[in-house]
């Protein structure tokens, strides 16, 4: 899916990034408890000038080859974050000898520009530890300074896999006459507070932490301290973060004047909306105009990547990032007399929801909300495929910050929790041709989430590539697609895709000396396909043969109702036609875990995978 959608991320908002160094080979399989031990301190200090100083001190004792990765040093910086100082030393623990002293210039320096970005100033300095003798100690310390205190680093004391964290400390320091806010998660400890030289210091300290598995931990279960400002300022724009309204107000200031349109652009809006009565029609036509004529380009410029381009510039260039395209769409709607709101969201199909009680920057993407008398219309402005009003799994079902004149407020995006938003209907007519061969004529009708992939395929691929995609999607073995046509409809709120194809199958059934064995091929459904927890999935198959068929394995009439699904299968032989009608309705509760879904799908697979025996 990643290839199909080029989603727009605000990039630098999250200072999270993952850098994985080469995995080193471990030659012998000894039982190793830890690869490394670490003692680390994070100091976060707010200065009276609204700067944020971040000092990281780490002492890592590397015990074996696999622990070398834990000695990795990474320092992220950009035009707002500067590296103030750095020093490091590598010591051979056995002899106590200094192997190497590190200065800033010894670090590698790379751009973190992403493949799809045209401009981004994020950079990384890093150092990879290479050594052959253990134990080894790498001790380093650095300080970075960020202009503006809109966001703060988050403290995550947990170490890497198979690393013993002997001690992890956090010091949060701020002037007595200022304030910061913080949110403690999964730490059963009060901060120690002390005052000196006009500064308040809060201190947390954890010992002997260990993580054995490599799985990505659930955000809700790991220890962390999130920090956010009260009063904040960045590049001359100031506000107060105690409420979502205060944060919204800051964004509102940044967006001021960005939605003016040139006379040419206004004329275009007038031309497009001429004669249209309803607001929804106007939204749809303007949205489609944008989808067809503007493309997503990531350009991270201005106020750490927060300030959108001017709508006029977007009109001229015919491209923009998520902020620019949302702003431009907003401007066009305004011109057409429709009020819309710019919205910040934490996007990603498997992201957790934001901490709603802790106003802070937790977002990485921008979309648009159009309040209507009846249903609110949501617009994902970087998608060239979704219908107006359908958000897709990238931003659905989560709290978002709607920016308004009054500031901002949290609102939830639609959850789409009904089978209306996720349907698959496959009708297949199969003709047996002898010697295992068959020809299949199939109509696949996909609605809502199920149609998302084909919407993108139709939009981005040429005919050859579409055919290639169909080969892989059908996953028939030994197939030759003789003809196909793909129709997508994104003019309704719920998108639809219909694929018709005729395909020759070299080996559809197996044949032994006495019988034919048919294993009906259904679509493959994965947990990712049921992100809205609901799905209606129908398979209707008709198999015809020039020879008389005799059903050895008997007719089937199944009707099951389980906790998470209803299953019906009806299989008969009528007028020498073998007919299979199979319907599933999934209805998972919202708090279901992925493992349950996967298990349920396995259960379905078993019900489906019953071979059919025909006597020869």
């Amino acid at each position: 899916m990643k290839l199909l959608f080029k989603w727009a991320l605000l990039g630098s908002l999250f200072s999270l990034f993952f850098y994985k160094s080469e995995v080193f080979a471990q030659t012998d399989k000894k039982l190793v408890l830890f690869n490394s031990r670490v003692i680390k301190t994070l100091d976060v200090e707010l200065t009276p000038d609204f700067e944020v100083l971040e000092t990281v001190k780490k002492k890592v004792t590397v015990l074996n080859k696999d622990g070398l990765e834990d000695g990795l040093i990474t320092i992220f910086y950009n035009d707002l974050i500067s590296i103030e100082d750095f020093s490091g030393v590598i010591t051979d623990k056995a002899s106590g000898k200094t192997i190497d002293k590190l200065k800033l210039k010894d670090l590698n320096d790379v751009s973190l520009i992403s493949d799809y970005s045209v401009f981004e100033d994020s950079r990384l300095k890093y150092f990879e530890l290479h050594a052959g003798k253990f134990p080894l100690e790498i001790e380093f310390e650095y300080t970075t300074k960020k202009r503006g205190n809109m966001s703060f680093p988050t403290w995550r004391p947990e170490g890497n896999k198979m690393q013993l964290v002997e001690k992890a400390e956090l010091n949060l320091i701020y002037p007595e006459n200022m304030e910061v806010r913080y949110l403690v998660k999964n730490i059963d400890q009060e901060a120690k507070v002390s005052n000196s030289e006009g500064k308040v210091k809060m201190h947390w300290e954890l010992e002997n932490l260990i993580k054995l598995s490599d799985d990505k931990p659930d955000e809700d279960s790991i220890a962390m301290v999130k920090i956010a400002p009260k009063d904040f300022t960045m590049e001359g724009y100031a506000s107060n973060m105690e409420t979502w309204g205060g944060f919204g107000n800051w964004i509102y200031q940044l967006n001021q004047g960005k939605d003016d349109l040139s006379p040419d652009a206004k004329a275009k809006v007038a031309e497009l909306t001429e004669g249209l009565e309803s607001e929804l029609e106007k939204i749809q036509i303007l949205y489609k105009y944008m989808q067809d004529n503007y493309r997503y380009v990531s350009i991270q410029l201005g106020i750490g990547g927060f300030m959108p381009m001017y709508a006029t510039e977007v009109f001229e260039a015919k491209y923009g990032d998520c902020k620019a395209l949302s702003m431009f769409m907003n401007a066009m709607l305004k011109e057409a007399g429709i009020n819309a709101n710019y919205v910040l969201v934490k996007a990603g199909s498997d992201e957790n929801d934001i901490d709603v009680d802790f106003p802070s920057n937790q977002f990485n993407h921008a979309i648009l909300q159009v309040p209507m008398e009846q249903d609110t219309v949501w617009l994902e402005c970087t998608s060239s495929t979704l219908p107006a009003g359908f958000l897709g799994d990238f931003t659905m079902d989560r709290h978002v910050l709607v920016i308004t004149e009054e500031g901002g407020k949290l609102v939830k995006t639609p959850a789409y929790q009904s089978t209306d938003y996720n349907q698959i209907k496959n009708n297949s007519k199969i003709e047996l041709l002898g010697q295992g061969m068959a020809r299949i004529k199939q109509t696949k009708e996909m609605t809502g989430f199920a149609a998302q992939t084909y919407l993108a395929v139709q939009r981005h691929f040429n005919e050859k590539e579409v055919e290639k995609h169909i080969y892989y999607d059908l996953d028939f073995s030994g197939a030759h697609i003789e003809k196909f046509d793909l129709n997508v409809d994104n003019q309704q709120i719920v998108p639809k895709a219909i694929l018709n194809h005729e395909t020759f199958l070299q080996q559809f059934y197996q044949s032994t000396s006495k019988r034919l064995i048919i294993k009906p091929k259904y679509q493959t459904i994965k947990a990712d396909d049921i992100l809205n927890f609901n799905m209606h999935w129908e398979e209707n198959i008709e198999i015809a043969s020039p020879d008389e068929m005799e059903l050895e394995s008997g007719e089937v009439d199944l009707d099951l109702t389980e906790d998470y699904f209803d299953y019906k299968k009806h299989q008969v032989l009528e007028d020498n036609l073998l007919k299979i009608a199979r319907v599933i309705k999934f209805h998972f509760p919202e708090d279901v875990d992925e493992e349950t879904i996967t298990k349920t799908l396995k259960q379905i697979e078993k019900l489906d995978d019953q071979p059919i025996f025909l006597k020869k």
Binding site: K6, E22, F24, A25, Q26, T27, D28, K29, K65, L68, N108, D109, V110, S111, I113, Y116, S117, V118, F119, E120, E128, H130, A131, G132, K133, D292, N293, R295, V297, E316, A317, K318, Y319, S384, R459, F461, N462, E463, K464, E465, K468, Y471, Y472, S477, G478, A479, H480, I481, Q506, Q507, Q510, S511, T512, S513, K514, R515, E552, K602, P611, F613
Partner: protein
């Protein structure tokens, strides 16, 4: 590669004098469009393409001792799907001393509006430069106002300080290309060897213009190129040309001709000139220390294997690439961290210290951009250094960089036809014959006990199949095996994986699979073969442009013995099948045999692959062959309850 350039201390001093003016014979001229270009709405030779390169050209010439390449490129967007082609990235290597530079970047987009050509030019503020680190830089820009029918075009000059090796030109793109032209004007005082590759290039080379040092190649109507499954890298098959300096006239010395790397020994000599490299071959203190290291083993083979294991266990790899060492042997032995090349050089030194003949061999591994080696000492064709040793009179190739590759075997990406043997004397290209008899030999005994079916497996993996088995199944246990078998409710017991002591590499995996059965059912279905090389046909689509690369040939044999239990009779089983691909590239035989005396059904399956590479012309046959084979192996045996 730049590593290499720095390492080779080949300096070419050029007398500065002005060049005669260069003929202005462009085919791409910004803002001037032919009527074909304006009217074109699709690609004639690849109708589904959403965009096309209308033309691209590189005009190279020498000026002030530098190579200047004037590059122009023009694309047309047919469909809004292809708007991403309007995002341009130009990467170049600046190094510490500005060894490359980009100047004079111009870009513009043309749209026809009411029959009028409307051109939007881009300016400096639209070009973003990024420092990628390690000396690399990138210029990115994105064309505005791009829609269906837009023609986008840009030009720039690329300057190269280093002229010993020239990058040359690559002719294809991931969209079709109407024409791609490369021209280079080589002055009389410089002498270059050309190295071309690719089937279209070979044709174009026959028609190339060569006029007083002006060389020009034009390739036309090139289809788009994309990666395909079962190939190591399509880059190895692209049409391209590169250059290496063969000699020059030294005007500082009466115009005397100095040849550069004119034969294999000279190239070897240059490599030995590198201090770090030479240190591995000298009778220095480290060498004497190495000679004193206790090496276990009586025969040369035992000693060599001991050294091989010692290096793999005691030394750590870093991620330095290329075949030129960075550090000398002393530093490596002290720090115990080195590149692939350095560890292999160390192995050579240790073998030599123990009286075993060993030399470095340079190869071009798969994916390095070369499908064959050229017979000229063209140094840039190589990317890896491995060990060639003569052990107990037999030639052995070795590489210490891959964890699971045992002594005497090479990683699969190193299975190439030959390499360059670097010696103090008598260096030359040699052929590499990797003798092996790879394959999977499997015996399954199937019987019924109480309410389950038992499958007793003995699977032997030979030679490269043993290597790939170890690579994939480093931490195989019963639970993982259960998942791999991809069958519900099976129970794997008694898994044992052992290395068989033998001259050839053999790994034997034996285990028992228990599968519950429904004792009340009239019919009982058994799929006798669970472990197989291909679970499904890997070739799904119909087209193929590049060869299928299987890495090595093999011969598989699966035997299943099904004992028919009391109370059941053999009702039905798959029919015999023997198929082969044209000219015997692959063979598959499936023979069921009923032994009524012992109440046993024996199924004998053989699968031989006799070629590493299957050419695209044979792809359809291969796809059909695999289809029959994969399906046949899945067919069940049917037992019926006796009435």
């Amino acid at each position: 590669m730049y590593h290499l350039l720095r390492a080779f201390a080949i300096m070419v001093f050029l007398m500065l004098f002005s060049l005669s003016s260069f003929a202005q014979d462009y085919e791409v001229k910004l803002g001037k469009y032919s009527s074909e270009e304006l009217e074109m709405t699709s690609c004639a030779f690849e109708p589904e393409a959403a965009a096309i390169v209308l033309g691209e050209q590189g005009i190279g010439f020498f000026s002030n001792g530098r190579l200047v390449t004037e590059i122009k490129r023009r694309l047309k967007i047919f469909d809004s799907k292809a708007k991403d082609y309007a995002d341009i990235t130009i990467t170049y290597y600046e190094g510490e001393n500005k060894v490359e530079a980009i100047t004079g970047l111009k870009a513009q987009v043309m749209n026809l509006e009411n029959g009028k050509e409307v051109i939007t030019k881009m300016s400096k503020k639209d070009f973003f430069e990024t420092d990628l680190g390690n000396g690399y830089k990138e210029i990115r820009f994105t064309f505005p106002n791009v829609k269906e029918g837009s023609i986008i075009e840009y030009e720039y000059d690329h300057y190269f300080e280093n002229i010993t090796f020239l990058d040359g030109w690559q002719f294809q793109n991931d969209i079709p290309t109407v024409f791609s032209r490369y021209k280079i004007d080589i002055p009389e005082y410089l002498d270059y060897r050309f190295l071309g590759q690719g089937e279209h290039f070979v044709v174009a080379n026959q028609n190339r213009v060569n006029n007083f040092g002006e060389n020009e190649w034009t390739l036309t109507n090139l289809k788009s190129v994309q990666s395909e499954p079962y190939m190591n890298n399509f880059v190895d098959y692209l049409d391209k040309i590169e250059f290496q300096l063969a000699g020059y006239k030294d005007y500082g010395n009466m115009g005397h001709y100095e040849s550069v790397l004119s034969n294999w020994q000279k190239l070897a000599d240059e490599i030995f000139e590198i201090d770090a490299f030479r240190s591995y071959f000298r009778n220095n203190g480290t060498f004497k220390d190495l000679a004193e290291v206790d090496i276990e083993g009586e025969t040369e083979a035992e000693k060599a294997e001991y050294i091989y294991q010692l290096i793999k266990e005691k030394y750590t790899l870093n991620d330095e690439g290329g075949f030129v060492p960075d550090q000398n042997i002393k530093k490596l032995v002290t720090n115990k961290v080195g590149s692939k090349t350095e560890l292999n050089l160390l192995m050579i030194a240790m073998l030599r210290a123990n009286g075993i003949e060993a030399d470095p061999l340079l190869i071009s591994s798969k994916g390095n951009g070369r499908s064959y080696l050229v017979q000229f000492p063209f140094v840039r064709q190589f990317n890896r250094l491995i060990v060639k040793a003569t052990i107990d009179g037999e030639v052995v190739f070795a590489d210490t960089s891959h964890e699971h590759v045992p002594f005497g075997y090479l990683p699969l990406a190193y299975h190439v036809e030959g390499g360059f043997l670097v010696k103090e004397e008598g260096s030359d290209l040699i052929r590499m014959n990797l003798e092996h008899k790879s394959g999977i030999k499997q015996m399954v005994n199937i019987s019924l006990e109480a309410d389950s079916i038992h499958f007793g497996h003995t699977v032997r993996y030979l030679d490269y199949d043993a290597v790939s088995f170890l690579e994939r199944n480093d931490d195989l246990d019963e639970e993982k095996l259960e998942k791999m078998l991809d069958k519900d409710e099976v129970n794997v017991m008694g898994l044992e994986v052992k290395d068989l002591e033998s001259k050839r590499r053999q790994v034997e995996s034996s285990f028992m699979v228990n599968m519950p059965m429904n004792t009340s059912a009239e019919l009982l279905l058994i799929n006798p073969i669970m472990v197989k090389r291909h679970k499904e046909n890997p070739f799904k689509i119909d087209d193929r442009n590049f060869p299928v690369d299987f890495n090595y040939v093999f011969s598989d044999n699966y035997i299943a013995n099904i004992s028919i239990p009391e109370g059941y009779e053999l009702d039905d089983y798959p029919e015999q099948l023997a198929i082969s691909m044209p000219s015997g590239l692959a063979k598959f035989i499936y023979i069921p045999q009923e032994d009524t005396n012992n109440n046993v059904l024996r199924i004998n399956v053989k699968f031989d692959l006799n070629t590493e590479m299957v050419q695209p012309s044979d792809y359809q046959d291969l796809k059909a062959f695999m289809e029959y084979m994969v399906n046949k192996i899945q067919e069940p045996v049917v037992l019926k309850k006796k009435s």
